[in-house]
């Protein structure tokens, strides 16, 4: 079993390559998927940063959001593979169904999905925790509502991101002008 597990871990890159090819071949779906993923991620992180909801609700919201985003990503993958609609109900099953008659075993697919889920959760944690801290600090110091605070933080971050992009672009532009 251990040998099989190691073999499967070594083969995950085949599925990653498979996914990459799928994305490259379907640009529109790929772009849509990326946009949806980020929008959902930001909404869920913001919702979970509201300081005045209970821990239980926060946990529920987090789990629901994570599962939704994760499933949606896989559903779009199944869609691109033309897996029949009836089979799309279960995302994990879909990927397995699409690759059933190819040299890929179930364990390999589960390992691949597990890796994706862990990566997603770490990204989620990296965003949600600092945002909540900032929102709490902002709500405490400025005396604004704890519901609005995370949104204000996002707006500030977006503004900072916008400024950085503008500065970066201006620098590139200056470099280009100098090179002429």
């Amino acid at each position: 079993m251990e040998g099989k597990l190691q073999e499967s871990e070594g083969q995950i890159s085949r599925l990653e390559h498979f996914e990459k090819m799928l994305q490259e071949q379907d640009d529109t779906m790929y772009l849509l998927r990326r946009i949806l993923k980020w929008v959902c991620l930001l909404i869920s992180v913001t919702v979970c940063s509201f300081t005045d909801i209970g821990q239980g609700r926060r946990l529920l919201a987090t789990v629901a959001m994570v599962m939704n985003i994760f499933t949606m990503g896989l559903l779009s993958m199944a869609y691109t593979l033309d897996v029949p609609v009836a089979m799309r109900r279960n995302a994990v099953f879909n990927l397995y169904e699409a690759l059933k008659y190819f040299p890929v075993d179930r364990l390999e697919i589960y390992m691949f999905l597990r890796k994706r889920l862990l990566r997603f959760l770490s990204l989620y944690g990296a965003l949600a925790f600092p945002l909540r801290l900032m929102a709490e600090a902002l709500a405490g110091s400025l005396g604004i509502s704890s519901l609005v605070a995370p949104l204000v933080v996002w707006l500030m971050l977006a503004a900072a991101g916008g400024v950085m992009i503008r500065v970066g672009m201006a620098r590139r532009y200056r470099k280009k002008v100098r090179s002429l």
Binding site: R14, F18, M21, L81, D82, A98, L99, P103, D105
Partner: protein
């Protein structure tokens, strides 16, 4: 060397009183480098036999081995060697043949993109053509090209020649002859066409209601498979064969 081997393989489907025997105690062995034809009337279990081999979920009893390896235990490894060609085989409809090759080909260890593309060209298929727009014959040719692209060692061909024109059939048997020049390759195909069994096959198996009523080398005892085998099964099979104009 024995390639594919069935040892007392049985398959039942349904529950309780509706439980039905689909494959009944099937045993045979196919040597590498040979072409074996499985015949039988509709519903005899030919397609189920293939499904049993290729599906990782097939709940059969008995043992199926490939070069001595139990395929149930190492199904993904076994599928590296299999080139399954069937009308029912699912590939994404909206993708082009080139894209399908790029997508699924690298899942095989011995994938050769150049060989796949050249084989498509030999069959008169463009890599830019969409899978959904292929005719039945083109679909089978594409699947053959894909199987050749990953250097399949066991070709499972499900009714590939049924309903095809004479030219395609001749080309197909020329191609399978070339494939079998490689002694590691075996071909197992189902057919309804009696002439193909007589002329082209090295081994012949007759399925009737899930039972393998006869199996053996063509021309050795099996030459008289119509007389020696299960008379009822063979008679019924011939009854179900539409293209049985004897030569």
């Amino acid at each position: 060397m024995t390639g594919l081997s069935f040892e007392n393989v049985s398959l039942q489907k349904g529950r309780f009183s509706k439980r039905k025997v689909i494959l009944d105690n099937i045993s045979f062995a196919l040597e590498q480098g040979y072409l074996c034809g499985i015949a039988g009337k509709n519903g005899a279990g030919k397609t189920t036999l293939f499904e049993t081999i290729i599906s990782p979920e097939s709940d059969y009893s008995g043992r199926i081995t490939w070069r001595g390896m139990d395929i149930r235990k190492r199904h993904a490894e076994f599928m590296q060697y299999v080139g399954h060609v069937s009308e029912d085989r699912c590939y994404p409809y909206s993708k082009s043949l080139g894209q399908i090759g790029d997508l699924f080909g690298p899942l095989y260890r011995e994938w050769n993109r150049g060989l796949y593309l050249s084989q498509l060209a030999a069959f008169g298929l463009s890599p830019g053509k969409e899978k959904g727009g292929l005719s039945r014959g083109e679909n089978l040719k594409f699947q053959l090209a894909f199987a050749m692209g990953h250097h399949a060692k066991l070709y499972l061909l499900d009714e590939v020649t049924a309903g095809m024109d004479v030219i395609f059939r001749r080309e197909f048997f020329e191609l399978s002859g070339r494939l079998l020049e490689n002694e590691e390759v075996s071909v197992l195909m189902t057919t309804h066409i009696e002439q193909e069994l007589d002329k082209k096959m090295d081994y012949i198996g007759i399925l009737d209601q899930g039972r393998l009523v006869s199996f053996g080398e063509n021309g050795r005892g099996m030459d008289g498979w119509r007389q020696d085998g299960d008379e009822r099964g063979n008679r019924e099979m011939r009854g179900g064969v539409k293209e049985n104009s004897r030569k």
